[in-house]
Amino acid sequence: MRNHIHLGIIICVISLNMNVCAQDTLWINSGEWFQSQDTMSVLRFNETAVFDTSNVAISTIADASLSLTVINTDSVPHNFEIDGFMSFGVEILPSDTTTFEIPPLSMGTYRYFSSDQAGLYLGLSGVLKVGLNMQNQFHWNLADCMPERMDSISSGGELLDEEPYIPRYFSINSYTYPHTALDTNGYIALSLGDSCTISIVNSGFMDHVLHFHGFHVEYLSTTIQTSRIGWIKDTIPLKQGEGVTLLLIANQEGIYPVHNHNLIAVTNSGFYPGGMITLINITP
């Protein structure tokens, strides 16, 4: 699918004045996500009908509409939204296909997701990158979850308001540390002097805050804390549902962690280290 996106981008770049739309297709798949002591039933947006544990990131050009086809392979209906920007009233029925026309968005990073109960709690949420042209691009889809709550939803149960939310897993692109080092979309490997963009969405049920070791990064875009665009910081809060684009300049060699500084979130089922930790590896 990524090749299709690139082809779409090329066509759009060539035909900017013709207002050509990019086209893309997503599959809603169900599967299982394994984390230390737990196996959780989850839902994901994938680029094929084959289940993958990570939601796929979509790329499109800025200020042009996107035609997005969603195929629902799940057994219950789901909807489709872009956080804070658009909500489609149409449900995608089981085994059905629906095409959404997403109007032009400005350069930045957005969260696309399903806000129905199963979609929300079982992880149907991904990264939409708009108008990012840098050669080196990475993305981090942040999530937190409580297995007991997911079990209840996946088995058709209801959530009880009085039950406290006590998340036990905190992930980046569905990876938890140390497995985040296996994630080519999230583990940042660059050469000294290179630059990259990092697109981050908070798909969790709480705010998160990421601290960069070794580097300051610049806010290129954000969907919520817009006054911060242009700020240069080492600690980046992400409110629930927020999408942020950061610019990283690899100005020193070495291996440096990036991690959640709400330190309950650098654990796997309570054990440190784990959770939302990934690495920046800058080679000569």
């Binding site: 406290p164 939310y165 006590i166 998340p167 036990r168 709480m206 705010d207 805050v209 601290h211 070791h213 070794g214 580097f215 300051h216 006054s227 242009g230 700020w231 240069i232 910081k233 080492d234 600690t235 809060p237 020193q252 060699e253 070495g254 291996i255 440096y256 962690p257 500084h261 709400n262 330190l263 309950i264 979130a265 650098v266 654990t267 089922s269 309570g270 054990f271 440190y272 280290p273």
Partner: protein, 405 residues
């Protein structure tokens, strides 16, 4: 070179005269140490065990650790002795140090029991930074192993081309879960740590005005503002909770920096969210006779629930009666220091001593008395080895100085 400096530091601990002669030549930075046997006295008088950092010259640890102060461009070598049974590090949060000095055990180095480590870096950017242990961080932070770093720019400005200001008011927000601190060995799992004690500069509630429990006369975190002058609030969070700052509009708060960098467009601020690890620099300019407070709210990060408020008093210096300064003047001199039997206390022409007391590291009075002399000799032979604070009270004035036996 690094090893050579460390050896000098260690030697200085055992030979005060040698230390003084070294200090006259190149002013070495303080030697840091880590410990796991500290006590934080809560607002209601409870002894809460802490781990933390301290200056070897003081001999005790605190939470937060000592404020580290540098000037833009300083070449820093921070020596670090681990006097505790577990390994520790110092992560220099926000200073963008290289990998070798990053303080992360897996990519940098550990400082194991009874060993010395040294962190080198250039304080290349002015601003507010933090430091903390990065070993089993989730536990070591709630136990108290953190502190603040200020890098000041020369010329009394926040940064090159930035606004001038009168003085700094460092405010470090943190919290802890009392049950974890009482029994860190049984503290797993860590994902459900929910703090229930909330601090500004290690103090909470009434301590922010009266000083630590058991330490009467020690000024709390009251910020004294001379009329018309700007105070730089150096705000940083080492909390597990979201910190929400409420600044009264009369203080005309303006945010100029975050995370050690100027913000592109300074902005007025009356309410500000500070997430764990973030820092902000805000200038306030209280009008004459202002007497009010900044509210420091703590919010649960998981459930977005308000949990607690502390208040930091701000008032016009002209209204001050006693010693409402951030750092109390230490007009007393004590010699010899360290001493094993007798110390001589001199008020340095600040008036007679009158009432005096000696506090141990837990804040308890171990010796006290009265005199109308400017100079007195005190027999400390009955005290156990350790660090002490001698306080003299002359009318409304409180003077304090530390000594080591």
């Amino acid at each position: 070179m690094r090893l050579y400096i460390v050896i000098l530091f260690v030697a200085s601990l055992f030979c005060l005269n040698a230390f003084n002669s070294i200090a006259q030549t190149f002013s070495p930075p303080p030697l840091f140490f880590a410990g796991m046997d500290g006590i934080l006295i809560s607002d209601d008088g409870m002894d809460i065990p802490i781990w933390g950092y301290g200056l070897s010259s003081d001999g005790y640890i605190t939470a937060p650790g000592p404020l580290l102060e540098y000037e833009t461009g300083d070449e820093v070598n921070l020596a670090f002795v681990n006097n505790s049974p577990e390994s520790h590090t110092i992560h220099l949060h926000g200073l963008d140090v290289d990998q070798a000095n990053d303080g992360v055990p897996t990519t940098s180095f550990l400082v194991v029991m009874d060993e010395i480590g040294s962190y080198s870096f250039t304080a290349s950017e002015p601003g507010t930074f933090l430091y903390h242990c990065h070993v089993t961080t989730t536990l070591h932070l709630t136990m108290g192993m953190y502190g603040m770093i200020l890098v000041r720019h020369p010329g009394g400005v926040l940064f090159e081309g930035g606004p001038s200001y009168y003085s700094d008011a460092p405010l470090l927000f943190s919290d802890l879960e009392i049950a974890t601190n009482l029994d860190p060995v049984q503290s797993y799992p860590f994902h459900d740590i929910r703090p229930d004690y909330f601090m500004v500069n290690g103090r909470s509630g009434s301590q922010l005005e009266t000083g630590s429990a058991g330490m009467p006369g020690e000024s709390g975190t009251i910020i004294s503002c001379p009329n018309g002058e700007s105070i730089a609030l150096r705000l940083g969070s080492m909390a597990y909770t979201l910190t929400k700052i409420i600044i009264p509009s009369e203080l005309e708060g303006m945010c100029y920096m975050s995370d050690g960098r100027p913000v592109p467009s300074p902005f007025e601020v009356e309410e500000l969210d500070i997430y764990p690890g973030e820092r902000f620099t805000i200038l306030i300019s209280p009008e004459a006779e202002y007497d009010g407070s900044i509210e420091v709210q703590s919010w649960d990060m998981v459930n977005r629930e308000y949990v607690h408020s502390n208040f930091v008093r701000i008032r016009d210096a002209a209204l001050n009666i006693s010693t409402p300064h951030i750092q109390s003047p230490l007009s007393l001199s004590i010699s010899p220091n360290p001493s094993s039997d007798f110390i001589t206390v001199n008020t340095n022409d600040a008036g007679p001593i009158e009432d005096w007391a000696i506090y141990n590291a837990s804040g308890k009075i171990v010796l006290e008395g009265q005199t109308d002399l400017h100079l007195m000799r005190v027999d400390i032979s009955s005290l156990e080895s350790g660090s002490y604070i001698l306080e003299s009270i002359n009318g409304q004035k409180h003077y304090r100085a530390r000594f080591i036996k």
